[in-house]
Amino acid sequence: MADARPQLDLGRLVPLLVIPGVLVLGAWSLATLRFQTELLPLFPPGLASVQTLKKAQASMISERQIIAVAKPGTNPGWQALAKLADKLHGQPGIASAEVGMGAKGSPAEWLAGMIAALPAPRFAEIQKALTPAQVDSRLQDTLGSMSGAVDENEMARLHFDPLRLNEIIFPPPGVNPLAESLSVPPVLTIEPDQALKTFADDQQFVAQARAALAAESADLSPRPDFLLGGQPAITADISSHMKRDIVIMLVFTLTLTSLAFWLTYRSLMPLVWIVVAQILAVLSAVVVARLVFVEINVVSIGFSSILIGVGMDYCILVYHFFAQPGELDPHEWRELRHAIWLSSVTTAATFGILFFSSFPGLRQLAVLVAVGLIAMAFFATTFLARLLARRRPRAPRWLMPASERCARFLSRHRLAFRLFAAAVVLTVLVFARPLSQFGYYDSSVEQLEPSELEPFQAQKLLQSQAPEIPADDFTGGDAGANRRDWQPVDVAALKATFTLAGFDDTWSGGTTQVVDALNRWHAGAIELAGPTRMSDAWLQLREDLNRTAVSDFKRLSLVMSAIVLGLCFVAHRKTRLVALNFAALVLALMLFALMLYVTDTSMTLLSLLCIPLMIGLVIDYSLHILLALEHAHGDLVEAARHLAVPVLLTGVASIIGFAAPMFSSQPSLQNFGNVMDLGTVAAVISGLVLLPALYGKLKHVHRNEAKP
């Protein structure tokens, strides 16, 4: 017998075609997607400060080498580390090891770089000091200065720079950074014996280097306690923490959202389907990330919790629809599907706008979250809906009465809730001054770094050991003019002068390397000069990022508002309802600002994206509530029957989802989770509690009114 009832449109064929594709491509993407562990690629590459930092970082950190920095008080000195370096040579995984200052390249290149940027008069002095007569005279002085009191540090400095060129760069009295630099605690740079292609390669190399250092330094006194830095150590450490973070965040989110779902609906199998739908959505986002970016930054892993948190919303709405008793109304299903798609498109669009941000990190997140949300809406309304339609779940008996009781309470006390909304607005207006002066955005980039991790500690120690470089010596010189004016020095003749004065190649080596570097620089073969003042660049970066973020925010928030407005019009086609959407949004933003102020929480570059996400959430909740209220002709009790529990559960799931990053080892993700939870609470209060109270045509409910 033919079924005359209208059928639910559950997208029959599409999921069957899409799911295998997502699984195959997802597996391929997970296997081949590279994770970026550096901070700088997150920032706009065109900023001068970012370019400076990249150059400076390139001079500090090698792509391949591990830098072993002994903790203060445990450094056994140059000679002991030189011996240790010899012993490390050929150990498993280690091609070679060198003792140095920790900068990439030799001290000679560092010195040459300083000379290249000298003010013209001192640059000319350097040139003069390299004439044969001056060389001989200076070498005799050096012999004289090595007599008398034995100072091994001084001997090491003179062995490297017997012409004492550093004294021309920084004439005494005053600081002598090079002299200091040559007496800085030395570090070891360790080169791997193979290409480091995967996280596992980096982790293995770091483990091998650590083991070799421990074994070979056992007989040194003081026994060095090394911190391992450099790119392989950063990658190895972050990748292992990242793995842990991902596992903790996913397990945390899945467990708690599942627990919240099970406690509400007491339904197990649909929960498994929901989890599968979420995994499919996350995989879809990963596939797009692989195709668009090839590599994504570790901070983008936060997207998975956003997806699970927000995506649970769609799944719960679908589940709740199929769990209602009696026949299913295809019209209602169409409306729900329409609302889910509108909601996902709105949230995806608000996130998608971030694709036009100047920050590559935000562009990655925009694509990941937008694609993931749309995929989640797709799998919730097709894959999950088909399974739930086949095996209809049942909501617990207490659920509907509880929803109705809440709705009645809200309806009865609508005045109180309206007063609360007015109080929020009033509080913001009264405290406008302190609120406007609060630092909602912290432009410091340091907190984006997982600074407690060993490689970053090593890097900080390395930087703290480096001598302070007076600004004048770098800003005063014209490297371009110096490059032109440099008179190439005959390296062979220079070496011969050293030999005649009684100094062999080990003594002339440093100077000839400096001269060779300057000669090649003059010939255009290498770059020596350029901004190397990392600390200034960091300060500049802070200003640049602040400026860019504010400019982006102004530029994109207008477009974002226009898109949200447009989509709300598409959904409601009534100005009154769109205005209510926006009222909920403004209230949520005010609540959010108040909560940030009260909890003294500032947003970072990453947690700034909580704002579009919160806009998405508020629009999502308000869209569903307003559509349901319109459908029920202002009967909140009727609307709540369909929406109160799912939307509330959604809010709880979102809060759980966003709390997950707080347990990661990345400070940026911790702050993100913290801020996003505040944003979600604001969205739930505004969308679920205050908005119905503001709905003008709300049907009046009497205290003793019976259930319909």
């Binding site: 090595m146 007599s147 001997m155 003081p222 009684g502 100094f503």
Partner: protein, 218 residues
């Protein structure tokens, strides 16, 4: 005839060093006896003063760098080397503090407790003067050889160096028997780099001005 004489001279010049008697290793029993004897002398020495010649042999330099001066020691933890050539330079250790004055440079101070004793060359010298043979055996693998009235004490750091022996490859001290007067001390820092001290006019328990060992305030 002249040719034969020249040939003989050359042969003698080549063979003579080989014919010279090598210092003979000291037996274990003698070593204990010398330990005891030197220990007694050291314990009885509360201060010491001697003229020194310092020859710095540095790897890669054609000639050693020679300096002269006076060494002052006061038991248990003070030592000063004041140079007359080059004038105005000195190196001093007093307890856990050390300082170096190089000509034309500010005084450089070092905290041996924090930086280790290897941070000061003077501290290495002090350790030798202060330590008795028991201490030597703790810090070094000690061996002795003797050539006539000269006793050569060879100190080599154990496999795991102690704070005292860290940074030193070998110390060879020449003592003049029977009074155990210090004649020479050669400290090898590492291969090719060594400091050779020759002592003259050594005076044990000489009256020293305590102000000698005061590190000038910064």
């Amino acid at each position: 005839m002249d040719f034969v004489r020249v040939l003989l001279c050359i042969a003698l010049a080549v063979i003579a060093p080989a014919l010279r008697a090598d210092p003979q290793p000291v037996s274990a029993a003698d070593l204990a006896r010398y330990d005891q004897g030197f220990s007694a002398v050291q314990q009885a020495t509360h201060s010491y003063r001697a003229d020194i010649t310092q020859m710095l042999h540095l790897q890669g330099l054609a000639k050693p760098i020679t300096s002269t001066g006076t060494l002052y020691y006061e038991s248990p933890d003070k030592l000063l080397v004041r140079f007359s050539q080059p004038a105005g330079e000195w190196m001093l250790v007093n307890g856990s503090q050390a300082a170096i004055q190089k000509a034309g440079r500010p005084i450089e101070r070092r905290d041996l407790a924090a930086q280790g004793r290897a941070a000061s060359h003077a501290a290495s010298l002090l350790d030798f003067f202060h330590a008795d043979p028991t201490r030597w055996h703790h810090d070094f693998d000690v061996s002795m050889s003797r050539d006539g009235d000269r006793l050569f004490v060879h100190l080599k750091p154990w496999m795991t160096p102690t704070a005292t022996s860290q940074g030193v490859e070998q110390i060879v001290t020449t003592l003049l028997l029977p009074r155990y007067d210090i004649v020479r001390m050669m400290i090898t820092i590492n291969a090719g780099n060594s400091v050779d001290y020759q002592f003259a006019h050594g005076q044990r328990n000489a009256a020293l001005d305590p102000a000698l060992f005061t590190i000038p305030p910064p």
